[in-house]
C-alpha cells in the first residue's frame, strides 16, 4: 500500500514487535483478533471439559463421579464460560480481524482501548475460575443465577462472581464501542452503509445490542451485591421486593444476549454461502432489515423465559406473540440462504460444509424455539432437557459451527497457508454426526419429563442419556482434530493465494489483499468510488 503515514515509532511499518511483550502491548487489530480467538479456543476446551464432567455424571443413573454440589458448579461454569468466554470473545476476535479489512480501515478506531478490552477478559475469567479454589466453592446457581439462590443462599464466592461479571461487561461494552465507532467512522470512501458486507452489518447491530444490554446485566449483579452485603431488599419479599424482579432484569439482558450470540453468525454464513455458491447473496437489503428487526424485537420478548413464574395472562400472551414474530425475519434469512444456493454452482469445501450444517441445524433449533414460545406448551417444556436441546442446537451447530466455519474460511487469509482439506472434512463429518447424536435425543428425554440441572435421574431416561453422553465424548474428541488442523496449517500449511477461494472473486475487500494480509492492511483506505480491480 502507498501513502506511508508519518509516525513516531519506527516499528509501525515493519510489522509486529518481537517476543511476548508484543501480545501484551499490541494495538494492532490483527494481533488483538488473534488473542481473542486463542482465548476463546482455550476457554472452549475448559468449558468443554466441564461439559464432559456433566456428561460423565449423567452417563448412567445413580451417583457417578461428582457430588451434586460440584455438579451444579460444573453446569453453572460451563454455561458462563461457553457464553461469555467462548462465543462472545470468538465473535469479537473475528470482528477485530475482519471488520477493518472488510471496510478498508487502517485499524480499529480506538486501538489502545481495544487492547484493554481484550486483556481484562483473562482477568475476569481468571477470577471466575479461581473461585473453584476458594472456600465455599465456585458459583453453583446456574448461568442465569436466579435470586435468592444467588443472593441469600449463595456461597461467599458470589462476590467475586459479581465483580468478574462487571469486568466481562466492561470488556464487551468497550469492545462494542470500538466496533461501532470503527464501522460508522472508518469505512473506505464509497462504502455506503448499504454496501457494507453483511458480517459488518451484523456486527454493527450486535454491538448496539451489547451496549444496550450489558449495562443492564451490570445493574442486575449490582443489585445482587447490595442485597447480599448491604441489607437492601430488591429481591426479598419481606422488604417489599420480589425475586421475580431479578428474572425480569436478567432476561432483559439475557434474551438480547442470545441474539448477540447468533447475529454475527448470520453475517459469516451469508459470506460463506455466497462464496461457495459462486453467486451474489440473495436479498441483501432484506438480510439487513431482518437482522435489524430481530435485534429490535429481542428487546420485547424477554419474559418468554418466565412463562411459569406466574405472570398476569396479558403478559403471557404479549410475550408469546412477540416471540413468535421473530420467526418471520429469521425465516427470511433462511430462505434467502436457500435462494442464494438455488441455481448456484456449489462446491463443498470445509467452510461450506459447516455453513450448510449451520443452516440445517439452526433451523431445527429455531423450530424448537418456536415450540417453546407457545406459552401453554412451555408450561410442559420449561426447565426440561427440551430447552437444553433447543439452545444447544442454536448454540453449538449454530454459533459454534459458524465460528468454526469462519476460521476455516479466513484462516488462509490470516496465515497465508491452507489448512488440510481432508482433515477439515473429517472434522466436519465427525462433528456433524456426533453433534446430532448428542443433542437430538435431548428433545426426547426433555419431553418425557427430565428436568434440567439435575445430577441424577429416573430410570426411564437412562437409555437416551447414555447415547447423549457417548455423542458428547465423540464431539469433544473431534474438536481435537480442529486444534490439530489449525496448528498444522500455521506450521506446515501450503501457501494460499490472495483470493484463496475460487468463488471469492468480488466478494469483499479482504480478498483483494495478499495472504497473509499485511500487518497493516490499509494504511490509507482504498477509494471505492473508483472502479475496483482485483489484484
Amino acid at each position: 500500500m502507498s501513502a506511508v503515514i508519518e509516525s513516531h515509532h519506527d516499528d509501525h511499518h515493519h510489522g509486529p514487535a518481537k517476543g511476548f511483550s508484543r501480545w501484551l502491548y499490541t494495538t494492532n487489530h490483527k494481533d488483538i483478533g488473534s488473542l481473542y480467538l486463542w482465548f476463546s479456543f482455550i476457554m472452549l476446551f475448559v468449558g468443554g471439559a466441564m461439559a464432559m464432567v456433566i456428561r460423565a455424571e449423567l452417563f448412567e443413573p445413580g451417583s457417578q463421579i461428582v457430588s451434586p454440589e460440584f455438579y451444579n458448579q460444573m453446569v453453572t461454569n460451563h454455561g458462563l464460560i461457553m457464553v461469555f468466554g467462548v462465543i462472545m470473545p470468538a465473535f469479537v476476535g473475528l470482528a477485530n480481524w475482519m471488520i477493518p479489512m472488510q471496510i478498508g480501515a487502517p485499524d480499529m478506531a480506538l486501538p489502545r482501548l481495544n487492547n484493554l478490552s481484550f486483556w481484562i477478559l483473562p482477568a475476569a475469567f481468571g477470577v471466575l475460575l479461581s473461585t473453584f479454589l476458594m472456600e465455599g466453592g465456585a458459583p453453583n446457581f446456574g448461568w442465569t443465577f436466579y435470586a435468592p439462590l444467588s443472593t441469600e443462599y449463595a456461597p461467599p464466592t458470589v462476590t467475586f462472581f459479581i465483580f468478574s461479571v462487571h469486568i466481562m461487561g466492561a470488556s464487551s461494552i468497550m469492545g462494542s464501542i470500538n466496533i461501532i465507532t470503527t464501522i460508522l467512522n472508518m469505512r473506505a470512501p464509497g462504502m455506503t452503509l448499504m454496501k457494507m458486507p453483511l458480517f459488518v452489518w451484523s456486527w454493527l447491530i450486535t454491538a448496539y445490542l451489547l451496549i444496550a444490554v450489558m449495562p443492564v446485566l451490570a445493574g442486575a449483579v449490582t443489585m445482587m451485591l447490595m442485597d447480599i452485603h448491604f441489607g437492601t431488599s430488591f429481591f426479598n419479599a419481606a422488604g417489599g421486593g420480589d425475586p421475580v424482579l431479578f428474572q425480569h432484569v436478567f432476561w432483559f439482558f439475557g434474551h438480547p444476549e442470545v441474539y448477540i450470540m447468533i447475529l454475527p453468525a448470520f453475517g459469516i454464513i451469508s459470506h460463506i454461502i455466497e462464496t461457495f455458491s459462486r453467486k451474489p447473496i440473495f436479498g441483501y437489503s432484506s438480510m439487513v432489515y431482518a437482522i435489524a428487526s430481530i435485534a429490535l424485537l429481542s428487546f420485547v420478548v424477554w419474559a418468554h423465559h418466565m412463562f411459569t413464574v406466574g405472570m398476569p395472562i396479558a403478559g403471557e400472551l404479549f410475550f408469546m406473540y412477540s416471540t413468535m414474530l421473530i420467526a418471520i425475519p429469521t425465516g427470511v434469512k433462511v430462505f434467502n440462504w436457500l435462494s442464494t444456493m438455488f441455481r448456484g454452482s456449489l462446491t463443498f469445501e470445509t467452510p461450506m460444509l459447516f455453513a450448510i450444517a449451520f443452516v440445517a441445524l439452526f433451523t431445527i433449533g429455531g423450530l424448537s424455539g418456536l415450540m417453546l414460545a407457545i406459552a401453554p406448551a412451555d408450561f410442559q417444556y420449561h426447565d426440561t432437557y427440551f430447552v437444553v436441546a433447543h439452545f444447544h442446537y442454536v448454540l453449538v451447530p449454530g454459533a459454534l459451527f459458524s465460528i468454526v466455519a469462519a476460521v476455516y474460511y479466513w484462516l488462509p487469509k490470516w496465515t497465508g497457508y491452507m489448512y488440510d482439506e481432508v482433515l477439515g472434512k473429517t472434522h466436519f463429518w465427525l462433528s456433524f454426526i456426533s453433534v446430532n447424536l448428542t443433542f437430538f435425543p435431548m428433545h426426547f428425554v426433555g419431553l418425557a419429563g427430565m428436568p434440567r440441572r439435575i445430577p441424577d435421574y429416573a430410570m426411564q431416561f437412562a437409555d437416551y442419556n447414555m447415547i447423549v453422553s457417548v455423542g458428547a465424548f465423540l464431539f469433544g474428541l473431534s474438536q481435537l482434530l480442529f486444534l490439530f488442523n489449525v496448528l498444522k496449517c500455521v506450521y506446515y500449511g501450503k501457501s494460499a493465494t490472495a483470493e484463496v477461494w475460487e468463488g471469492a472473486k468480488g466478494k469483499g475487500l479482504e480478498w483483494t489483499v495478499d495472504s497473509p494480509a499485511p500487518y497493516h492492511t490499509f494504511e490509507t483506505s482504498p477509494d471505492l468510488t473508483k472502479p475496483q480491480t482485483n489484484s
Binding site: 420480589d242 454452482s345 428436568p451
Partner: protein, 375 residues
Amino acid sequence: MIFRTFLFALPFMSLSVFAGWDDINMSPGATALGQEIFGLHMTIFWICFAIGVAVLGAMAFILFRYRKKEGVEAAKFDDSTFLEFTWTILFALILIGMSIPATITMIRAYDDTEGDINILITGHQWKWQYEYIEDEVSFFSNLSTSLDERNNLAPKGENYLLEVDEHLVIPTGARIRFLITANDVIHSWWVPDFAIKQDAIPGFVNTGWTQVNEPGIFRGQCTELCGQYHGYMPIVVEAVSPEEYKEFIIQKKEAKLQQAALTEKLWTAEELMAMGEGVYQKNCVACHQVNGEGLAPVFPALAGSDIVMNDKARQIEILMEGVQGAAMQSYAEQLTEVEIAAVITYTKRSWGNDVNGNGEIVAPKEILDYKTNKL
C-alpha cells in the same frame, strides 16, 4: 455427498420420533387441561415438523441439483421482491394459525376460580410441604429413595428418585386449587400429567388447578434449580375416591392428636435414640452428613460442635427457629415435639459427643415448654 447425508439424517431424525412413543414424548395428560396442552403440543409439533421437512428437503434438493458441474455457470440473480414478499406473508399466516389454539388453551389454563379444595404447597430446600387449608392438615413430603440406591450400592427400584414418604392425596372429581409458594429459594412444582408447572416463589403465591377423574398415582419433580439437592425433591400425587379421601383426612387429624399425647409421655433415652436416628437420617443427613461431620465450609459439623455438646438451650432454639440467612431452617413445623427432642438427644449422644458422660437427654416436654413460653 452432502445429499447423501441428509438422506441419511432425515430418516434418522424422523424415525426416532416414531420409536417407543411413550419414552420420548410428552405425557398425554391425565386431566382435561393436560390433554388439551398435549393436543396443542402435537399440533405445533406437526406444523414445525412439516416446515422442517420442507426446508431441509428443499435444501437437500438444491445441494444435489446445483452442485458444481463442468460447463454450468452460476446464475446471477440476487433478489426478487415478489418472492420475499410471498414468504413473509406465508410465515405470518402460519404464525397466526399457531397462535389461535395457543391463545385458547392459555385462557383455559389461567381460569382461576376458587377450588373445592385449596391446598397450600410450600417448597423447602429440599422437600415439599402440603397444607389442606380447609381441613387444617399439614405434612411434609420427602424423597424416600435410599442412599444406597443413589450410590449404586443397591439395585435401583422402578420409581428410583420419584418416590416420597408421604403422598399428596387428592379426591377424584373435585376441583383442586393449588396455592404455591416457597420458604427459602425458588422451586417449581411440576406434575406432567396435570400439565401444571408453577414456580414456587418465596414471599409470593402462584396458583394452579386440577381436576382428576380417575384414581391413580402421578409423579413429578421440582423443576427450578434450588441448590444442591434440587434433583432430589420429587412430587407424588395420589388421586383417590372421595370416600378414601375423607378417610385420609380423618386419619391425619387423628395422628395429630396422637402426637400431642406422645409429647406428654415419659420417654427413655433408648426410645429417643432410636427415634432420633430415624429423624436424623431423614431430615439432617443431607447437610450434616451421616457421620455428623457436615460439609465444610457451608454445613457445620455437629460432631464435636460446642453448641451440640454444651448448649442445650441454643440447640433447641436453632432447631425451632432456624438460622437466619443460612440453609439451616426451622423444624418447628416439620417435626413434632417428640421428633425434635429425639433428634437433639441423638446428636448429643452420637459421634463421641457425649463427652460430659452424663447421658443428657432432651424430653419432648422441654420442646413443648419452649413453644408455650414463646407464645
